[in-house]
């Protein structure tokens, strides 16, 4: 018995070493560029540090008090939630509709699928620059429309009330194609026999969609909700290129852009780290909530 355990351990050890050899390059990179920054940010959140001196001073919870008393935090969190919710909800609704269309045996399906996915693979910074031009009411293509209508179009990016919505529209545009590909993949794996049975029960396409397609697609909706929300609340590049949080800061600033500004424009690395830790906690909490709520509406074919 003892000998067998020893042999098994020897074999396991060899397997472990092989396993470690294969995962270690990735693990090292993750540890260096993901886990260590998280830990270090948590450490910095208790320090008063301006990024320049060798060491900061330990300030206990002072930086967290700054987070919760920051006069701009409400606007920044509000903007981030508006952006994330709008991108996730609107993009998913449009993507689902697009996927349903693409799922029919239309000619040139591959072409349309590629067309739908193209925005997602376009660099956000480049896409944002193109959108800046598209939205310009004096120079962009929209100016032709405004002139034809005899109206002076809105300057989206120069208006505190509209700038955020310009950013949201780009977020939606980029997300629709990505989500539609997942929805389409999901739709194409749905069991045919269920639909054949449903056809015997009802003629209503809406009922089939509501009571069959939607529940069967709920895992895809759930996956896209979680991954899309996490990606959306991290929005930074589109804000940086298009508005820098303005035109009157923080009219269109997101949480991540705000903490970047604190760190690199105001030299408040400690405060920015506290913002980052709070952001991490919020993200984990929202994701946890999404998983908890998922038990009520996500069906895994059971």
């Amino acid at each position: 018995m003892g000998r067998r355990t020893k042999q098994s351990w020897k074999r396991n050890r060899a397997e472990w070493l092989t396993f470690l050899a294969f995962v270690s390059p990735n693990l090292v990179l993750f540890a260096l560029f993901t886990y260590w920054p998280i830990v270090y940010s948590a450490y910095l959140s208790f320090m008063d540090w301006n990024l320049l001196t060798a060491r900061g001073a330990f300030v206990e919870l002072a930086n967290y008090r700054v987070v919760f008393t920051d006069p701009q935090i409400r606007t920044v969190i509000g903007n981030t939630l508006i952006y994330a919710c709008a991108v996730v909800c609107v993009a998913q609704a449009l993507a689902f509709a697009l996927a349903l269309l693409l799922n029919r045996n239309v000619r040139g399906q591959v072409f349309f699928r590629t067309l739908a996915f193209a925005p997602h693979v376009t660099t956000t910074a480049a896409a944002a620059l193109v959108w800046v031009l598209l939205l310009d009411p004096d120079l962009g293509p929209s100016s032709v429309l405004y002139n034809a209508l005899g109206i002076h179009g809105p300057h989206f990016l120069a208006s505190s009330k509209l700038a955020l919505w310009a950013i949201v529209s780009i977020g939606v545009w980029k997300e629709v194609g990505f989500a539609s590909i997942f929805f389409l993949a999901g739709l194409q794996t749905l069991p045919r026999d269920c639909y054949e049975a449903a056809e015997l029960e009802t003629d209503s396409g809406w009922k089939v969609f509501r009571h069959l397609t939607l529940p069967l697609m709920s895992p895809v909706v759930f996956f896209l909700s979680v991954s899309g929300f996490i990606a959306a609340i991290k929005a930074f590049d589109v804000v940086s290129v298009m508005t820098q949080g303005g035109p009157v800061y923080p009219a269109s600033s997101t949480y991540v852009y705000h903490l970047y500004r604190l760190a690199f424009q105001e030299f408040r690395a400690g405060d920015a780290s506290a913002f980052a830790v709070v952001f991490f906690v919020i993200t984990v909490a929202i994701t946890g909530l999404q998983f908890r709520l998922a038990r009520k509406w996500v069906h895994y074919g059971d």
């Binding site: 070493l17 092989t18 300057h155 030299f267």
Partner: protein, 435 residues
């Protein structure tokens, strides 16, 4: 199977060792430098286009002029990008030896020991004669008695005008005073029959810089250099910014967003008849203005005379530069600030040959109208970057200007709030600096 596993295990050890060795070698290999060769100096610079090329030419001239020091110039993007890279480099205790530097970072960098005090070099045997520097420009980079930043690419603000628009509006000359500027802006604005603005009198931007000169020239003051007095709500500032806001309310001024090219694009496209800007934009504006003839005029003057806020950037030496390389780094700075080189840079870039000696060295080439405007403005520069240097003051005032010009907020309320915010935050900054 057992053999295969052993084989894999052996291989995995070899791979792990190899990765470790490569990593160690990468980490431990120092920047090799031949002690008998020339001293290698790294220079980080900003500015693209003509001003960037001119700097590269100056570096080549320096390298050709002597054998002892070899400078390598590295472009680091915009002032903001350069600032961020310097912060990152400083955190890692690395970076260039000499850098071009805007004004935002000076104070924080000095307080954190990132910059070298240049005063011993400046006043030493191989120093620079600053007696012909205009106004208080030598004091611009002074902090606590040391000199940490020296002006290099200096800009005096100017007024760009659309000469065709002036002719159409029957205005003979560019406005000389702020009162004339506000009146001309309204007169230059054209509207169609439905009241839509066809061309605004001016396009404004929400940076602090263009308004600072107007406030100073009208007799206002926003901060003292040591921040013991902060008056962002100075009655003169309220009056001046109310005038600018009035232009926006009347449709005589527009405030375009930066991403679309901002005020500069509006002027080049003929959507605005005047802009307040830097002479560094000479090349772009004169080459790209469409359908009209642009010209440069002097910045308007005010009740207190002409007092101008300098723009542009300067030079600094970083504390990471080893002691034995600092003389070489200084020799490069001194070269860039020599009359011949400043004259060359001015001719190539549009920035000012800001010393009397460099203007003489430039000869007739700087007598062309647009260069002359800049050089006549130089004696009026006030070397005070206190608004820029403190993030508390800078961000508070900048946000107030945005609210006033974009959201058309009440000027008094916006400036009172900015002043209160700046005063509260400056106390924190002073307390941190004392620590």
């Amino acid at each position: 199977m057992k053999k295969i596993l052993h084989y894999h295990a052996d291989h995995s050890r070899v791979i792990a060792c190899a990765i470790l060795c490569v990593t160690c070698v990468q980490c431990s290999s120092p920047r090799s430098e031949d002690p008998s060769g020339p001293v290698a100096i790294t220079y980080w610079r900003t500015l693209s286009g003509a001003a960037g090329n001119a700097q590269d030419k100056l570096v080549a001239q320096f390298n050709d002029s002597q054998q002892a020091v070899r400078v390598t110039a590295e472009f680091q993007g915009s002032y903001t990008d350069l600032g961020k890279k310097l912060i990152t480099a400083s955190a890692a205790h690395t970076g260039p030896d000499v850098t071009q530097l805007g004004t935002y970072e000076i104070l924080q960098f000095v307080r954190s020991g990132v910059l070298v005090d240049l005063k011993p070099f400046l006043d030493g045997p191989d120093g620079i004669d600053t007696s012909d520097w205009p106004g208080t420009m030598r004091e611009a980079g002074e902090v606590d008695g040391g000199v940490y930043w020296l002006p290099f690419n200096v800009a005096a603000p100017v007024l760009y005008i659309n000469t065709d628009a002036f002719k159409t509006a029957s205005i003979a000359a560019a406005p000389k005073t702020w009162t004339e500027f506000f009146a001309d802006t309204r007169a230059l604005t054209t509207k169609d029959s439905s009241g839509r603005v066809q061309r605004a009198g001016t396009a404004l931007w929400t940076d602090v810089w263009p308004y600072l000169s107007a406030i100073w020239s009208e007799g206002g003051e926003l901060t003292s250099k040591d921040y013991s007095r902060i008056t962002l709500n100075d009655p003169v500032a309220v009056r001046v910014l109310s005038e600018f806001q009035g232009l926006v309310r009347d449709g005589a001024a527009i405030v375009p967003d930066t991403a679309s090219g901002g005020h500069r694009a509006a002027f080049k496209n003929g959507r605005a008849a005047m802009i307040l800007d830097s002479p560094a934009s000479f090349t772009d504006i004169f080459a790209q203005s469409a359908g009209f003839t642009p010209a440069v005029a002097a910045y308007p003057t005010g009740a207190a005379g002409t007092i101008l806020a300098p723009g542009g950037g300067g030079l600094a030496m970083l504390a990471v530069t080893p002691e034995n390389k600092r003389a070489a780094a200084w020799s490069f700075i001194r070269f860039l600030l020599a009359p011949q080189q400043l004259a060359f840079f001015a001719k190539e870039s549009g920035y000012a040959a800001f010393t009397e000696a460099s203007r003489k060295a430039a000869g007739d080439t700087l007598k062309e109208a647009r260069f002359a405007v800049v050089h006549e403005a130089l004696p009026h520069l006030k070397g005070d970057f206190s608004i820029n240097m403190s993030p508390a003051v800078r961000e508070s005032f900048s946000e107030a200007i945005q609210k006033i010009l974009v959201d058309l907020a009440d000027v008094n309320t916006a400036l009172d709030a900015a002043n209160a915010k700046a005063q509260q935050r400056i106390q924190n900054e002073i307390a941190k600096n004392k620590k």
